[in-house]
């Protein structure tokens, strides 16, 4: 299944892109996606613990099971104001 991934803030600099897609096995979780992205973008590895993940407009935990066509966003801690 394909999922779309968007990067925000300095994650765009770490990956060199604002968006990408990944093909994952059915039943794959966010943790699986992060592992795959770390293989493609090793500069994300040091950020693993602080990385926030949203599916659509909701935060989701690492064990969230992805559904085909979902849009996943990865970003560093937020800091508005």
């Amino acid at each position: 299944m394909d999922v779309r991934i968007a990067f925000y803030s300095y994650f765009k600099d770490l990956t060199g892109c604002a968006e990408t897609t990944e093909s994952l096995a059915p039943g794959a979780t966010i943790a699986d996606l992060i592992t795959r992205l770390q293989e493609r973008f090793p500069r994300l590895i040091p950020m693993e613990r602080s990385t926030l993940v949203a599916v659509g407009v909701e935060y989701q935990p690492r064990d969230y099971v992805l559904v085909p066509g979902e849009e996943v966003s990865l970003f560093p801690p937020v800091q508005g104001g």
């Binding site: 968007a6 925000y8 803030s9 300095y10 926030l52 949203a54 659509g56 407009v57 909701e58 935060y59 966003s73 970003f75 560093p76 937020v78 800091q79 508005g80 104001g81």
Partner: protein, 158 residues
């Protein structure tokens, strides 16, 4: 309907009115326009029961930990930021008897000395206005997807 049933129904309605919070008036703006305090103040819609008007302005400082800066570039994941603010407003509605919340957050480049955030809370008393305002800003910095990137002042070439 008999008179006793009417009375019971009225009591039920009064009970429901006491239990159901009055919806908070909400106004959220996230855009790149400079914050116009005077215009926002003129747009205030306070009832005679609002004894507290809390206004908070977040202003970009001219220095960060690493030294002087010219300003800050703000970036937002807009759709999610609006959704997260909406959930925070829902929670405020559950926790405090707030009458109105208006919040404006700038994105894009904001020069040092200019406001990036304007918040107004109207409430019957100051306690709930201060508490809700403090809580909202703390939670915003925890869950609303907005990021800052300071523009560092370039040192003059030797």
């Amino acid at each position: 309907m008999s008179w006793s049933r009417v009375k019971r129904f009225r009591c039920f309605l009064q009970f429901r009115a006491a239990e159901t919070p009055i919806p908070v008036k909400r106004h959220l703006v996230i855009n790149a326009e400079p914050i116009d305090e005077r215009s926002l103040q003129q747009g205030r819609d306070a009832s005679t029961t609002a004894g507290a008007v809390l206004v908070f302005l977040g202003v970009v400082r001219d220095s960060e930990e690493r030294g002087p800066i010219q300003g800050i570039d703000y970036e937002a994941f807009l759709r999610m930021a609006e959704h997260q603010f909406s959930m925070l407003f829902d929670e405020i509605e559950r926790r405090w008897p707030i009458e109105s919340i208006r919040l404006t957050h700038r994105v894009g480049y904001v020069r040092a000395g200019e406001p990036s955030l304007w918040l107004e809370i109207l409430a019957p008393h100051r306690g709930e206005a201060f508490a809700a305002g403090q809580w909202l800003i703390d939670e915003m910095k925890r869950v609303v997807p907005i990021w800052k990137k300071p523009r560092v002042v370039q040192a003059p070439l030797p």
